[in-house]
């Protein structure tokens, strides 16, 4: 593989973010005229690898060789100049500019120092045509296009730069089935033209159809490369897991409480094409997990329960009765008793410059005040209880919460909501980016809260957590519940294969809803 035919090579690439190791001596060889698929779990290091190739992130160590010469990219512009175009998961389009403006953005055609709008129009039309999207009007504003079309524009934009290497990072995740078919034709044609394509996707059926070579990443390393078709889906899943399994979880109660009346339930819940006819119920004492790949509607489901989304169809039921919740303020009212531990503690959970005390009290000010005046003695008492309950390590209640470690910050977010003694606890990936010790405490706490009668709905991107913590797991795919796993059925293999929407026997169903 190594030698004259490699267009681009990465050798010994490492990258750390703080104490977290994203990539550790990773290697990759890219050849022209081939589609190279990259597989791996969430957090396996794929995105970091791509960002390094695209010049967005600088590696701590390692070298990159393009056509025999060592290269170092100072920024995205440098990588683009070298012929590497990347289509990112998070779109890189400017919403207020037109499609044509966006397509030629890196290097617009100019006459006398000004942008030649006619030439720009021609280039944009040609690029849209190459991307199989001649129906998109070049003068339309990007922000007026639906997400699926924007992603096609993103592909056209990358093609307009005439790259040698094209990286697609989950580039089909928002596409409709019709668009995917068109894009696949485009990609196959580009391969024939001799372009090197890197294809990152969680969709096994897409990889099976497109790829020539596959490389599996795990824990920041490339663990295996193989020719497409030479491994079964089961083998691939094994390679993606391959981790030691640590027993850090509290024991689950023998008799699950699901025969009790549900506290929280929904019927045929749909929203804006992102949630599709979801029905579920959670009883008191139960910990129910939400699984699946990132971005399949889990976050939206939690937000829907918490009153953040408008225009929902279907019913949300509390204690069996339909309710309408128009805001988080309504969802946290004492008769509903809901709490949401958000995904991003820095923006949605905490006011970082404010004190631990203020942050702990924010959600419970109604309970801590008399006649709208905060009872500071009661506040002090309740805050101290919370510090004890969650063993939050802080130099005091008056220091800014931003000064605490990540794990302790997360505990403050949880404590802030536990202060209300919620009956329904929604958690959105609460252990992301925190240390193992704190994780273990959070697992024990969740189980204790459930034992005290709370209904817990818990989204996690970490399969171990779902296996270790949950009585049941609902796996979401493309906004719908694909599978419900109970008790011993909850295994890493079952979670991953249902998350990837493949069945156990290695057969590839069509995109959605094709299985019985």
């Amino acid at each position: 593989m190594i030698g004259a035919e490699a267009l681009f090579r990465m050798e010994g690439i490492s990258k750390r973010y703080g104490g977290v190791r994203a990539l550790e001596k990773a290697e990759l060889v890219v050849e022209p005229g081939r589609i190279h698929a990259i597989l791996g779990e969430n957090g396996a290091g794929k995105s970091t690898l791509i960002k390094i190739m695209a010049g967005v992130v600088t590696p701590d160590e390692g070298r990159m060789v393009l056509k025999g010469d060592d290269v170092v990219f100072a920024g995205p512009a440098a990588a683009q100049k070298a012929g590497i175009a990347c289509i990112f998961q998070e779109l890189s389009l400017i919403p207020d500019l037109s499609v044509a403006d966006n397509i030629v953005i890196a290097d617009p055609p100019q006459r006398f120092g000004m942008i030649d709008r006619k030439a720009q129009r021609r280039l944009a039309e040609a690029a849209l045509d190459r991307a199989g999207a001649a129906d998109i009007h070049p003068a339309a504003l990007v922000k007026d296009l639906p997400l699926s079309r924007r992603q096609v524009v993103e592909i056209a934009k990358a093609l307009a730069r005439q790259p040698q290497i094209l990286i697609l990072d989950e580039a089909t995740s928002a596409l409709t089935a019709a668009d995917v078919a068109k894009v696949f034709q485009v990609l196959k044609r580009l391969r024939q033209d001799g372009m090197a394509l890197l294809y990152i996707s969680h969709r096994m059926n897409e990889i099976a159809e497109l790829a020539d070579t596959c490389t599996v990443f795990r824990n920041g390393r490339n663990v295996a490369s193989y020719a497409n078709g030479s491994k079964s889906d089961n083998e691939v899943v094994e390679m993606m897991i391959g981790r030691e399994y640590r027993n850090v979880f509290p024991p689950k109660p023998q008799a699950t409480a699901s025969d009790l009346a549900p506290v929280l339930a929904c019927r045929d819940l749909s929203w804006a094409g992102r949630l599709k006819d979801i029905s579920l119920s959670v009883s008191a004492g139960e910990v129910v997990g939400l699984g699946g790949l990132d971005g399949q509607g889990q976050r939206e489901l939690l937000l829907a329960f918490f009153g953040v989304l408008s225009g929902l169809s279907g019913d949300i039921l509390i204690d069996g009765k339909p309710v309408t919740l128009n805001s988080p303020a309504a969802a946290k009212r004492r008769d509903i008793g809901m709490a949401l531990i958000p995904e991003d503690r820095k923006t949605e959970g905490l006011m970082l410059p404010m004190s631990v005390r203020d942050n702990l009290s924010f959600a419970s000010l109604d309970l801590l005040s008399k006649a709208s005046v905060i009872d500071s003695a009661a506040e002090q008492r309740r805050n101290e209880d919370m510090l004890d309950l969650l063993a939050i390590k802080t130099a005091g209640l008056d220091i800014p919460v931003g000064a605490l470690s990540g794990g302790n910050q997360q505990k403050v977010v949880i404590a802030k909501w536990l202060m209300r003694r919620p009956r329904i606890i929604l958690l959105n990936d609460p252990t992301r980016g925190i240390d193992v010790g704190t994780k273990q405490e959070i697992y024990a706490l969740l189980r204790r809260l459930a034992a005290d009668g709370a209904a817990v709905l818990f989204y996690s991107t970490d399969y171990d957590e779902l296996i270790g913590c949950c009585d049941r797991v609902l796996v979401l795919y493309d906004g719908a519940v694909k599978r419900e796993l109970k008790g011993d059925e909850i295994s890493e293999h079952a979670l991953i294969s249902s998350a990837l929407n493949i069945t156990g026997n290695g057969h590839h169903p069509l995109r959605e809803g094709a299985e019985a």
Binding site: V56, G75, P76, A77, A78, Q80, F88, E90, L91, S92, L93, I94, P95, D96, L97, S98, D101, I105, A106, P108, Q110, G113, M114, I115, R117, H137, A139, A140, L141, D144, K157, W271, A272, E300, L303, G307, V308, L309, S310, G311, S327
Partner: protein, 326 residues
């Protein structure tokens, strides 16, 4: 959709500003005792042009999702400098004009450097620099006074061929020489892109820094043309804090009325020009209807709020309430 409909959508803000201006100006003229004479047009044009220049300066910065609270201070500072150097024979006067414009561009460039490299928020940076610019103006001209080349001043505030207000021709020239080249250059597009989504612009490898720097510098330059024009108007210079703060606030109002988004990335200086003229026309309505001048700020405020509310209607359609805050 056809091409013209996209064009219409893109120019919507500008066209609304034009419509508001046309409506207000028509009401004004039809109630004016003298009707539309060349003198009435000349007065309206001169008053509108002064605000339009400052509003254009503000537009450039607002497009990058910034705001320039020093724009009024640059106007006053360049007014004071112009009242000292724009005099004498033709050569000296020309040199003086060039110097005034240079000072304006320098002020804008300083704002840009602080915002881009100092990573200060534009609002803070320009409050600071605004105070400095005004302070310098006060030191240069502690008392109102000075002179200006009156031939030039009269020519610029007068009429060409006895009909067309010279100020409008100057505004047209500025649009042709400064604005159009800016917004159709790569630099200008980078300024828009940075205002719309700085992350996406960075990821696309655009020259964000140069775009922002150009926007701030040209903003300073346009404010100094306003300063020159104020001097032509008054034949003198005055370090007036009322003038500085009034023009800063009115420039923001005119920009908003002109369909420029304060979130950045959207709008045009041409819209801001119409916004400025519309705002002036609203103020003038008070006089033809014989209202007490004391009502003018209140009336202008109500009109401004009504105009801006139209732009906020879209929020009612948001389906994820978190987008209210984003």
């Amino acid at each position: 959709m056809r091409d013209w409909r996209y064009w219409l959508a893109e120019q919507r803000g500008t066209l609304i500003a034009l419509a508001i201006f046309a409506l207000m100006f028509t009401i004004y003229i039809s109630n004016h005792p003298a009707g539309l004479t060349t003198n009435v047009a000349q007065t309206a044009a001169n008053k509108g042009t002064l605000l339009a220049l400052v509003a254009m300066a503000q537009t450039l910065v607002v497009i990058t999702a910034g705001i320039d609270l020093s724009v009024g201070a640059i106007l006053v500072l360049t007014n004071c400098i112009a009242s000292m150097v724009v005099t004498g024979n033709a050569f000296e006067t020309t040199l003086g004009v060039v110097f005034v414009l240079f000072v304006g561009a320098l002020c804008g460039a300083l704002n840009g450097l602080i915002v881009i490299y100092g990573r200060l928020q534009p609002i803070v940076a320009t409050i600071g620099t605004g105070a400095i610019f005004f302070g310098i103006a006060l030191i240069l001209r502690p008392l109102p006074g000075g002179t200006v080349n009156e031939t030039l001043a009269d020519a610029m505030t007068g009429k060409v061929f006895g009909i067309v207000p010279a100020s409008l021709l100057m505004l047209l020239a500025i649009v042709l020489v400064v604005w159009l080249p800016f917004c159709s250059s790569v630099i200008g597009r980078a300024a828009y892109a940075a205002g719309s989504s700085e992350t996406a612009a960075y990821m696309s490898g655009m020259p964000i820094r140069r775009g922002k720097f150009a926007a701030y510098t040209l903003g300073g330059l346009l404010a100094s043309i306003g300063g020159l024009f104020l001097t032509f108007f008054t034949y003198s210079g005055q370090a007036s804090s009322a003038t500085a703060s009034t023009y800063t606030l009115l420039s923001i109002a005119a920009v908003v009325l002109g369909g420029v988004s304060l979130f950045g990335g959207r709008g045009s200086a041409i819209g801001a020009i119409f916004g400025a003229f519309a705002f002036r026309a609203i103020g003038d309505l008070m006089f033809v209807f014989d209202f007490d001048a004391l009502w003018q700020p209140l009336f202008q405020g109500v009109i401004l709020l009504l105009a801006v509310s139209i732009g906020a209607l879209g929020l009612w359609r948001v389906r994820n309430r978190l987008e209210w805050f984003g």
